[in-house]
C-alpha cells in the first residue's frame, strides 16, 4: 500500500515536471502569444456563433501554440458579451467573435457603450448563405410568386422574424423596401423558434441561416424560394441579385479584437486564419455546422464592415428604430 502511494507520488511529480518542461519553449519565445487567449462569444453554447468560434479556436491553438479558450457571455441579444469585449484590455489576449447583429445593429438601436469603431476587425472566417424559406404546402414556388401574392394583399402575409433588431430582419426590411412589398412581422427569439412557427404554419415565410434551413429543406418540410448567393447544393434556387434585388443578403462571422490591439497581434491572427481557411479539415469542420469558410483580411474586412454599417443605418432610419 505504502509503495503504491509512493509510486503515485513519483508519477505525479514526473507529470508536473514534464508539464513544466513542455511549457518552456513557449515561454522562451518572446513573441505573441505568450499565454492562453480568450475568445469571447456573445451568444450561448451550441449556436452557430459559438460553434464557429470553437472550430476556429480548436484549429488556431495548434497554429498559435497557446490554448484558445471560448468564453460565452450571453444576455441582451449579444450586447452583454460585445460590451465586455469592446472594453477588454487591447493586448491580444481577448479576442471577439463578431457578427453583424450585436456589432453593427445594436449600437444604433440601443444605448450601448460601444460602437462599430470599438473593434479592430482582423479577419472574416466564414459566411452563411442565408435563404428565404416557406412551408412545403405553401402556394409559392419562387420568390416571384410570393412577391405577386404579397403585392395583391399588402400587410397580410406573415414573416417569421428571428428578432426585430437582428441582421436577418433588417435585411428583409431592406428587401421589402426595394421590392415594394409589405409583410407583417411576427417576432421570435431567434431563428429556431421562427422556423418552428413556419413548420407549424403559423407564419408564411422566413429568412434564416443555412444551419436552420438545410436540415428542413433536405427532409422536404420546407422549400427554398431564394438564396443570398447561388449555391451548387441547391441548383435552380435564384439569388437575390439574380432576381434583381440589390443589397447584402449574406451573413458572416469573424475574429475581432478591442480597438488599440497592437499591429503585431493583428498580423499574427490574420496570417494564422489565412492559413487555416485552406486547411481541408477546417473546411470540413465548418461544413459540418453548415457554414462556408471565407477569408478576408483586416483592411478589406474593416471597409466591408463600415460600408454595411452605413447601409444598415439607412434601413434603421427608415424604420425609425434608432435609439435617441
Amino acid at each position: 500500500m505504502k509503495q503504491m502511494k509512493q509510486a503515485v507520488k513519483i508519477l505525479m511529480i514526473t507529470l508536473v515536471a514534464v508539464g513544466v518542461l513542455s511549457l518552456q519553449p513557449a515561454l522562451a519565445k518572446k513573441a505573441y502569444p505568450k499565454k492562453p487567449i480568450k475568445l469571447i462569444v456573445c451568444y450561448s453554447p451550441g449556436g452557430d456563433a459559438d460553434l464557429t468560434a470553437r472550430v476556429w479556436a480548436d484549429f488556431a491553438e495548434k497554429e498559435l501554440g497557446q490554448p484558445v479558450v471560448v468564453v460565452n457571455k450571453t444576455g441582451g441579444g449579444g450586447v452583454a458579451g460585445t460590451t465586455f469585449a469592446a472594453h477588454a484590455r487591447p493586448d491580444g489576449y481577448t479576442l471577439f467573435l463578431a457578427q453583424a447583429g450585436a456589432t453593427l445593429i445594436a449600437p444604433q438601436t440601443a444605448q450601448t457603450t460601444y460602437d462599430v469603431d470599438s473593434f479592430e476587425y482582423i479577419s472574416r472566417i466564414m459566411i452563411g448563405n442565408c435563404g428565404v424559406i416557406a412551408h412545403k404546402d405553401a402556394p409559392w414556388n419562387t420568390l416571384a410568386d410570393f412577391v405577386k401574392d404579397a403585392k395583391a394583399k399588402p400587410n397580410t402575409l406573415l414573416y417569421a422574424s428571428p428578432g426585430a433588431a437582428t441582421w436577418l430582419t433588417l435585411a428583409v426590411q431592406h428587401w421589402e423596401m426595394i421590392a415594394d412589398v409589405d409583410l407583417k412581422h411576427v417576432e421570435h427569439q431567434g431563428s429556431a423558434p421562427a422556423v418552428t412557427s413556419l413548420l407549424g404554419k403559423h407564419t408564411n415565410i422566413s429568412f434564416v441561416f443555412p444551419q436552420n434551413y438545410i436540415p428542413q429543406v433536405k427532409s422536404g418540410n420546407i422549400k427554398l424560394l431564394a438564396l443570398g448567393s447561388p449555391s451548387d447544393k441547391f441548383p435552380g434556387v435564384p439569388s437575390f441579385a439574380q432576381l434583381g434585388y440589390s443589397g447584402e443578403y449574406i451573413g458572416w462571422g469573424g475574429i475581432a479584437a478591442p480597438k488599440g490591439t497592437p499591429k503585431e497581434v493583428i498580423d499574427k491572427i490574420a496570417a494564422t486564419t489565412k492559413v487555416l481557411v485552406k486547411n481541408p479539415q477546417f473546411i470540413k469542420a465548418l461544413e459540418n455546422i453548415h457554414a462556408t469558410p471565407s477569408y478576408i483580411g483586416p483592411e478589406e474586412w474593416t471597409d466591408a464592415v463600415n460600408q454595411q454599417y452605413k447601409d444598415l443605418a439607412v434601413v434603421i432610419d427608415n424604420l425609425g428604430i434608432r435609439a435617441k
Binding site: P45, T74, V79, T83, A110, Q111, G163, A165, S197, Q211
Partner: protein, 502 residues
Amino acid sequence: MIGEILSGLASILSPGPLIGISVGILTGLVFGAIPGISGIMAIAILLPMTFYVSPLIGIPMLLGIYKAGIFGGSISAILLNTPGAPPAVCTAMEGYPLTQKGKAGKALNTALSASVFGDVFSNLLLIFVAAPLSIITLKAGPAERFAIIVLALTVVGSISGPSIIKGIICAGVGIWVSTIGISETSGATRFIFGLPELIGGISLIPMVIGLLCLPEVLRQVGGIYKEKKNSRLALSGNKADNRFTLRDFRYCLPTMVKSSFIGSFLGALPGLGASPAAFMAYSEAQRSSKKPEKFGKGAVDGLAAPEAANNATTGAAMIPMLTLGIPGDDVTAILMGAFMIQGITPGPTIFYEHTHLIYGIFGGLLMCDLLLFVIAKMGFKLWIKLSQLPKHLIFSCVTVFCFVGAYSINQSLFDIFTLIVFGIIGFFMNKYQFSAGAFIIGFILGPIWERAFDQAMVISNGSFSIFFTRPIPVVFLILALVSVISIARTRLKAKKTAAARI
C-alpha cells in the same frame, strides 16, 4: 432496419459508452447537488470534450449530466433547503420539512424514485411516439402558448404561502423584472435606468441562487446565533422513515403518472423547460391530493410530483430537437451543437441517416436511468453524512459555492452584485412571507408570455378573439379557470379549519 435498431440499442453496452454515461451521471450529480452550481454548467464545460470521442460516448455522457443534474438539484434542496435551480423549488418546500422530521432518507429515496419514474416515462415516449408528438408540438402556436402560460401562472396560487395577494404581487414584480434590458424579440431597451450593465438584463441563475440559497444561509446563521448551540441534522432510526416504501409508491403512483404526463408535454413544447413543469405538477398534485393539508409540511406526493415532472421534461425536450432539429431550451441547444460538430444534423432525416447512432443514444437514455438510480442511491449515505457536518462548515461552503456559481455563468462581476442584492431581497421576502417561488415563476414565464401575446396580436390584427375561437387555447383557459376555482376553494377550506381550531 430492425437489425440496425437492435444493434444500435446493443451498442450502448460496450465499455466506452457505459463509462461515458457513468462519468456523466457522477458529474451531473455533483454539479447539481452543490448549491449554486448547476448541471448545465457541467454540460457547457464538458461539451468540447465530446468533439474528440465517438458520438456514442460523448452524447450519452452529456445526457447523463443533464438527467443527473436535474435530480442532483433536489439533494441540496431536500437536505439543506437550498434549491440550486428553479425546478427544485417545490422539492425544497416538501423535502426539507421531511428532513427536519428526521426522514431525510425517505425524502431522498422518494425524490430519486419519482425522478427515475418520470425519466423512464418520457424516454419511452421519445422512443415510441416521438414523431406524432412532434407534430402536436408544431400545432402549438402563439395563442396556444399564451393559454398554456396562463394555466401555468395559476400555480402561484398553490405556492404563495399564507397570503395569495402577496403571491400575486411577487409574480407580478417577477414579470416586471424580467422585462429589464434589451428585448430579444423587439430590440427595445427597457427599464435600465441609465445603467449600461442592465442592458443585458438580470441573469436568471445568480438571481435564483440569491433568492433561494443565500436567505437560507442567513437564516441558519441567525438561528445559530440565537440558539447559541451547534444543532446538527438528526436522523430517525425507524427503517420505514428512510425508505420509499411500497405503500408510498402506491400512494404516489397516480401523482407520478400525472406529473410525468405534465412534464413530458411541457418538455416537448419548445421554450418552456423544466421549471414550469415542476410547478404545474406540484400545483396539480396539491389540487387532487387526498391530504392537501399536508402540503408544505412534508407531503410525499408533493415531493414526488415536481421530481417526476422535472425529469420527465428531459426525454421529451429531445423530441423537437431530434425530430425537427429545433432545440427547445438551453440544454438541448448545447446537445444539438454536440451533434452538429460531429457532422450529424438533427432533424427529420436523422432517423434513417443515422439509425444505428440514434438507437444507440436511445439505449443510452435508458441506461442513464438505470445508472442514475444505482449511482445516486450509492451516494445517499455520503450526502446525508455531509449534511450532518457542523452547520457553520456546511453553510460557509454553500456561500462560497453560491458566489462561484453566480460568477462562473458569465464571468461577470455584475452577476455577483445581482446575487448579493437578491440575497438580501430574498431574506426579507422570506421574513415577511413573500414567496420567492412566485417571483421566479413570474420571471421565467413573463418573457415567454409576452412574446406569445405579441405574436398572437400581430397574427390576429390586435383582436383578442384569437384566444377564444381556437379549440386548444380555449381548453387551456378553461383548465386555468378550474385551477383558480379549486385553489380558491382549498384555501377557503384551510382557512375555515384553521379558524375552527382557534
